[in-house]
Symmetry: D2
Subunit: 123 residues, 4 copies
């Protein structure tokens, strides 16, 4: 039987729960050990992220409920390819995310966006 | 004119270049301030990741070359929705990625995978 | 205001409502006139289908309801790129769809699949 | 060994090679026989198209070359879900494609688009 995800709350969400340095090195070593960096062009990694995003979406194809273990695996796959792409492009995750958040905060001012999900072009 | 991405090398890739705690809190505050967590069901976030992955892919639709700034924005969007989904499900990024890497390392033994990109089902 | 899609029924669904020969020629002429067939490698068209599928999905990002006109446009984009890909590969739409339906009918026998949406690997 | 797709030419492309009426009825009967129309909300079908588009893209994940049989199957899956979505929304394929081609022809005038793949917003 499939268990329903419930939104978690409280302390569980307060942790940063972020990748450790060793994990980032583990991801890099995994590709290096297999001589796979040759395949990791940015374009191939963009395809890979889209492919894994499709597999994550498949968990929810017919229902709002999904198998939690399957979801964890597919979300991890998306994250690993995002790390590969950051590395392939020499990007700093924190820098590009903050640059995007600057833009998001401008495009979605609180007073216009509160409690609605309209796109910024429709605000 | 569009600049071509070249794979970066050396020291640039050695940094962890990972999200800071403040950035994770910034992502959470952005949604909370707009009362948007109501829309962040796991299924909606899986859709959102797929949608942004499609926009990232669009940067490479007709060419291996892409506009670097556009790529950074779209990759950041994928990462932000991944963070939203981790939060919505109460997941620890480091934990799920390491669990998946355990699996990857078993499915892709170095001696069988070195220098080829066959799927584990075809090894 | 956004209208909700309701499933249509009866006679509206009974028509074949399929592309006319002239429309298929129009799609081909559109690319030929612009000298765009050079970009239509199967791999680029696979990306294009995924990109447009993401835009179609965006119509439903936060809701089961969508803007009907926007949906029609995005679904048409997916269909046009499917036609481009059939042409690029020299495939007969009717032939490949029937071959796949043969497979679907074997993998999903009515007695096991009636009223449930489990994947054939879980039947 | 994987065969490389070559663009086909000449007479093979001149046929319409389009779904027959019986094939469209076969697709409808397949769902009806299994009582699956209950799952075919437009939003679920938009997800399904994106999922199958990801599987089609996977054929080209690391290479411009792909297994032809695999490509045919995945492209057929995209097409079948497009047919399901047309039916769920009561749309006429020919009508929505022609409406989109009207728009495409306006946004991409031959004199500005000939031999380049810039988006209409950049023309």
């Amino acid at each position: 039987m499939r268990r329903k995800y419930s939104r978690n709350s409280g302390s569980a969400r307060r942790g940063e729960r972020i990748l450790k340095k060793e994990t980032i090195e583990r991801i890099r070593k995994f590709s290096a050990d297999r001589n796979w960096e040759q395949y990791h062009s940015p374009a191939n990694l963009a395809k890979s992220i889209a492919i894994e995003a499709g597999e994550l979406l498949e968990c929810y194809q017919w229902s709002e409920e999904a198998d939690p273990e399957h979801v964890r695996q597919e979300l991890a796959d998306v994250i690993v390819y995002c790390r590969n792409m950051l590395d392939a492009l020499g990007l700093d995750e924190d820098e590009i995310v903050n640059a995007k958040m600057n833009q998001n905060e401008k495009e979605y001012p609180v007073e216009k966006s509160y409690g609605n999900n309209r796109k910024y072009t429709e605000l």
